[in-house]
């Protein structure tokens, strides 16, 4: 039959075409056959689709994976300086509140006063801090009203910044970014509580009942990359300025990292980064250094990997922002957010030479 003969020819010529052994004469013959009828074209498509299926990776049939939409509201990417500045405003507002408590100001909200540890009175700026005193000072957390964490655009961020400055000048306290506390001589704003989640998307915390769930990565189509800088803590180190002036103060960070199942071929690159600033403006010109240590994670959500990083704080450092960064590149970048990214056991410590200034916090 004509069509069976045609099909035999189509298969033979398509095979040559796919193996790049076809000559011009046979190619023209193939074109003629395909232009002749829809039936011929459909048979040709059957042949090519079979070839596509043969060539397609069969190890992971992505269509079988069920994706669970992450519950975290994405935190869109904006410049490090702006985001840090926003957090700084909140921090400054809170610290002002603490310092006013010490001087007996009446503008502090009642709930703040209840939470302040009496041992805070003993902490004076510029003193040498001994580890025993730190142990007894303990850790007092101030949990402030925490509205639902929501994304914020660059324009709104600047508005928040200005609002923060106004609140500072009016001697009021408000923040939306994290939990304020004091650990020894260090005041910090921490987002760990806000980012904490229990088990999620097949990932169990490394230790305990919850872990840090990082936000979605921002995808840059042109550069085929996806990136996230998730600020975890901002530290005010002005009270150890004299220690830092020796040039021997080291900030250590350790964290465990992991990712859930997704469509990516490879694991993400995780990093702990430090950004040191001088001055309360936290603008780019105030940045005196930034450092990063990274590792490539595997794609097995059963295994947590350990990230350790240290930085010698440069002279003049007053504030440090510690972040966890996640990166994907190439084709994996487009599907970066089919996985979720996590951290656990996030710890910092400060030491001066061999002496611990602040043990794990």
């Amino acid at each position: 039959m004509h069509s069976t003969e045609d099909q035999k020819q189509i298969l033979k010529l398509a095979s040559q075409l796919l193996d790049e052994t076809i000559d011009r004469e046979n190619f023209i013959r193939l074109e003629e056959l395909l232009s002749f009828s829809s039936e011929n074209r459909n048979y040709y498509l059957e042949v090519i689709r079979l070839e596509a299926l043969l060539c397609w990776e069969q190890e992971a049939d992505v269509e079988e994976i069920t994706f669970e939409k992450p519950k975290i509201i994405p935190f869109p990417f904006y410049t490090a300086a702006l985001s840090v500045a926003a957090v700084f405003v909140a921090l400054m507002a809170g610290w002002w509140a603490f310092s006013n408590f010490e001087t007996g100001s009446t503008t502090i909200p009642i709930e703040l006063a209840h939470h302040i540890s009496p041992e805070l009175d003993e902490l004076q700026s510029g003193n040498q801090i001994h580890s025993e005193k730190l142990a007894s000072a303990g850790l007092e957390r101030l949990r402030l009203p925490n509205p639902e964490f929501k994304p914020i655009s660059e324009r709104d961020l600047i508005k928040e910044l200005r609002k923060g400055v106004e609140l500072l000048e009016r001697k009021e306290f408000s923040h939306e970014f994290g939990t304020l506390d004091i650990v020894g001589p260090v005041r910090r704003l921490s987002r760990i509580d806000q980012l904490s989640r229990p088990t999620e998307r097949g990932v169990l915390p490394a230790v305990g009942n919850d872990m840090i769930a990082l936000s979605e990565l921002q995808i840059d189509v042109d550069s085929q990359s996806a990136e996230l800088m998730e600020m975890i803590q901002v530290l005010d180190l002005r009270d150890i300025a004299t220690n830092i002036a020796t040039g021997e103060v080291q900030l250590n960070a350790e964290a465990m990292v992991n990712q859930s199942y997704g469509a990516c071929q490879e694991g993400a690159e995780f990093a702990v980064s430090f950004h040191a600033f001088r001055g309360r403006e936290l603008s780019q010109k105030d940045e005196i250094g930034s450092w990063e240590s990274s590792l490539k994670c595997d794609i097995d959500p059963q295994t947590w990997e350990s990230l350790i990083s240290s930085v010698q704080l440069p002279l003049g450092t007053e504030f440090v922002v510690v972040s966890i960064n996640v990166r994907k590149s190439g084709s994996d970048a487009f599907v970066a957010n089919t996985s979720s990214y996590y951290s656990d056991e996030f710890r910092l410590s400060l030491q001066e030479g061999e002496k611990m200034l602040v043990r794990t916090f």
Binding site: A14, I22, R41, I48, L54, W56, K69, P151, E216, A336
Partner: protein, 178 residues
């Protein structure tokens, strides 16, 4: 206001799920694996760039295939002088034929079964060509046979697998309906 470079989770999901069908569609219009892979990458880039224009209520496959077709046409325009290529008219005709994704899934299942049943004298060359992505020259070196012989074997492999898949499909269709 979210950054312009933000791609939603749902969109990423859809993009992932359509990769196999998209590659298959592109290869049908541009039957060269390397070229088809390049065009697939370019198509993915364009799809992501066009995310802000994407209508969630629309047919994602139709939208993605339309963009893929334009990428194929652009590729053919660039390389028409140096390579043997289908005419634009034929590409349009091929693009218009129906593409049933569910049929593709069933064919994949059937192919997996058939591949395991491939006669042993065909298995080595099938593995070298389809899994290891070796070129014909590389295969000839490895199996120590002339190019005409390897080419003929690949033709027989494709014919065997096509026939096998056709035989297994009806039973798989019934299974999928249950």
């Amino acid at each position: 206001m979210v950054s312009e470079n933000y791609i939603s989770f749902d969109f990423s999901q859809k993009l992932v799920r359509i990769q196999r069908a998209l590659y298959s569609y592109i290869l049908c219009l541009l039957p060269n694996r390397t070229d088809a892979e390049d065009v697939l990458q370019e198509t993915n880039l364009v799809l992501c760039k066009k995310f802000p224009e994407y209508d969630e209520t629309g047919n994602f496959q139709a939208w993605a295939f339309r963009i893929a077709k334009f990428q194929v046409m652009a590729h053919l325009t660039r390389y028409r002088r140096s390579k043997i290529c289908f005419s634009n008219e034929l590409v349009e005709s091929l693009a218009e034929e129906d593409f049933d994704q569910s049929q593709l899934k069933l064919s994949q299942k059937a192919l997996q079964l058939c591949y395991e049943e491939l006669p042993s004298h065909m298995k080595d060359i099938a593995r070298l060509r389809f899994k290891d992505e070796s070129s014909l020259k590389e295969i000839c070196k490895k199996v120590n046979r002339p190019i005409g012989s390897v080419s003929a074997t690949l033709h027989r492999i494709r014919a065997w697998l096509l026939q096998c898949v056709k035989q297994k499909l009806p039973a798989l269709e019934i299974e999928s309906e249950i």
